[in-house]
């Protein structure tokens, strides 16, 4: 792997981490529950991106399983939270 690609990988990972910190600020600050839920959803997305990039970095496709799992099921917790905010009840 060329230094270019490894540099790009480090850059991308760094970006995701920085973005996560920014999102974390929102997660902690709120102000409302919907902000926090959205922030959590974004964190999950960042996590998924990290996994994908790691997959490229190590040329190992096992990382994709986890990323896929986030893509398919990651929305469930934030959706449930959103529904909870909206209805006060997750399963009616």
């Amino acid at each position: 792997m060329s230094p270019l690609l490894s540099g790009a990988i480090v850059f991308a990972l760094g970006c995701y981490a920085v973005a996560s910190i920014l999102v974390l600020v929102r997660l902690v600050r709120g102000p409302r529950a919907q902000d926090r839920v959205l922030a959590l959803d974004l964190l999950y997305l960042h996590g998924m991106l990290v996994m994908l990039v790691l997959g490229i970095q190590y040329g190992n496709d096992t990382y994709f399983e986890a990323a896929l799992l986030i893509a398919v099921f990651g929305f469930v917790s934030s959706s449930a939270m959103a529904k909870f905010i909206l209805r006060g009840e997750v399963i009616e």
Binding site: M1, Q34, L38, L52, G59, A71, V72
Partner: protein
């Protein structure tokens, strides 16, 4: 099995990764600094779309070249993401509207009415 990837591929993948990183940071910046919740709902889409598409594309390219045949599995990720993401955003937007209305916020439009009286065909 793992062949050396041509340099041009690495360049393309690198560009995609950098772009993804930049867009993700922009989306996070927007999400953090915008004032209103509905405004804040827009920037995350950058990460959901461009941010993840770039990486996925990079991965497809990289692995396909590496293994010498089309590797579409990463593609599944963006398909699944596009299918599932609306659920959260839709519910969140609805919840935000609801809570604002309950709180009596003035900048929030009133609930939508059906055109026909409810229940009529």
């Amino acid at each position: 099995m793992t062949a050396q990837v041509p340099f041009w591929v690495e360049v393309v993948v690198s560009v995609l990764l950098v772009l993804s990183g930049i867009f993700v940071v922009i989306s996070a910046v927007g999400f953090l600094r915008l004032q209103d919740f509905f405004l804040r709902m827009h920037p995350p889409a950058l990460a959901y779309t461009f941010g993840s598409w770039c990486v996925t594309l990079g991965a497809i390219l990289y692995f396909s070249m590496q293994e010498g045949r089309l590797q579409l599995q990463p593609w599944l990720i963006i398909i699944m993401l596009s299918i599932t993401v609306p659920v959260t955003t839709l519910l969140l937007a609805r919840a935000a509207l609801f809570r604002r209305r309950i709180a009596g916020a003035t900048d929030t439009p009133p609930p939508l009415r059906s055109r026909q009286p409810p229940g009529m065909p």
